[in-house]
């Protein structure tokens, strides 16, 4: 499956276009504001909940809160927030999704379980986690911006310094950047 054409990739880019974001690091606050979502730093246990999404969609405009773990590193917080935005765009706003829900709770262990799996090999609720992760990666590290940042450089996914530089530019962790590069350019 090509990452370029995945639903997550397309939806993330659409969102960036609508909000008018053209360069990294991606300002998640602006995106959340555009979607009517409030970002709330929360006192979750450090090893448990990374992020939650609570939505009330009684009327046209959904009202929602994303809570993220105050104890986590800011890069990790950004990924959690982007992941919850993914749930909101893909699984709440998307009226064709069956079994829509108002509450998403994402724990550290679910993240890692879903992270390294291909979207096609997963079903049901787990597929949602995989999709939300793919969305988060696409939103935080958009393909076009990444390509621009790389330019004519030869990308080596084992060049730690280079990856660290890129990661810093996009405000993500090195491992997240490495995984994204592997996904896009392998």
């Amino acid at each position: 499956m090509s990452t370029k054409t995945s639903k997550s990739e397309i939806e993330a880019q659409k969102l960036l276009d609508v909000v008018g974001i053209t360069s990294p690091p991606i300002p998640l606050e602006r995106i959340a504001e555009h979607l009517g979502l409030e970002l709330v730093p929360s006192n979750f246990d450090e090893d448990e909940v990374c992020g939650i999404l609570v939505v009330d969609e009684a009327v046209d405009n959904a009202v929602g809160i994303i809570g993220y773990n105050r104890a986590h590193h800011s890069n990790r917080q950004r990924f959690s927030i982007a992941h919850e935005i993914g749930h909101f765009v893909l699984h709440v706003k998307n009226k064709s999704v069956e079994g829509r829900q108002n509450l998403f709770i994402d724990k550290a262990k679910n993240f890692t379980a879903a992270f390294f799996r291909d979207a096609e090999s997963s079903t049901g609720e787990n597929a949602w986690e995989v999709e939300a992760n793919a969305f988060a990666a696409s939103l935080l590290m958009p393909q076009t911006m990444l390509e621009k940042a790389i330019g004519n450089d030869t990308v080596s996914v084992v060049d730690d310094d280079y990856i660290q530089q890129l990661a810093k530019l996009f405000s993500v962790s090195s491992i997240t950047m490495q995984y994204r590069l592997l996904n896009l350019f392998r």
């Binding site: 405009n61 809160i65 809570g67 709770i105």
Partner: protein, 124 residues
């Protein structure tokens, strides 16, 4: 009405369906078959995750030998329930440590309150 309460309402409806169904010893499969639904739909209705249209609920009532009103909770029952412990959320909140549980509960209540502020919904 806030949709958080909508979620609660269908959670109660699901509870009532399950109660009546188990009382008369009908399986989810049997119930589904009699009204032409997949078993998974009955599972989801009972969990409050699927919102059955009125006519489906009416058919369910017929199969279970009760009146439609027996599957619908009182208004007060829905609006007075402490949000966070309701079945619609219980399943997801069960695995939480106590600290996280109370944070999540307060956020659910916060969103429910926001949903009821009219100006939030009026500006487009």
């Amino acid at each position: 009405m806030s949709d958080i309460y909508g979620g609660l309402l269908y959670g109660f409806v699901g509870d009532l369906v399950r109660q009546k169904r188990t009382q008369i010893g009908v399986s989810q499969e049997e119930l589904a078959g009699k009204i032409g639904l997949a078993r998974v739909s009955v599972v989801n209705i009972e969990r409050g995750r699927q919102r059955p249209p009125l006519h489906v609920l009416w058919l369910i009532a017929e199969v279970l030998g009760v009146e439609l009103r027996d599957l619908i909770p009182l208004h007060l029952q829905v609006t007075s329930e402490p949000l966070a412990v309701h079945p619609a959320y219980r399943e997801q909140m069960n695995g939480l440590v106590e600290k996280d549980w109370s944070v999540v509960a307060s956020m659910i209540q916060r969103v429910a309150r926001k949903g009821k502020e009219p100006h939030v919904n009026e500006n487009k």
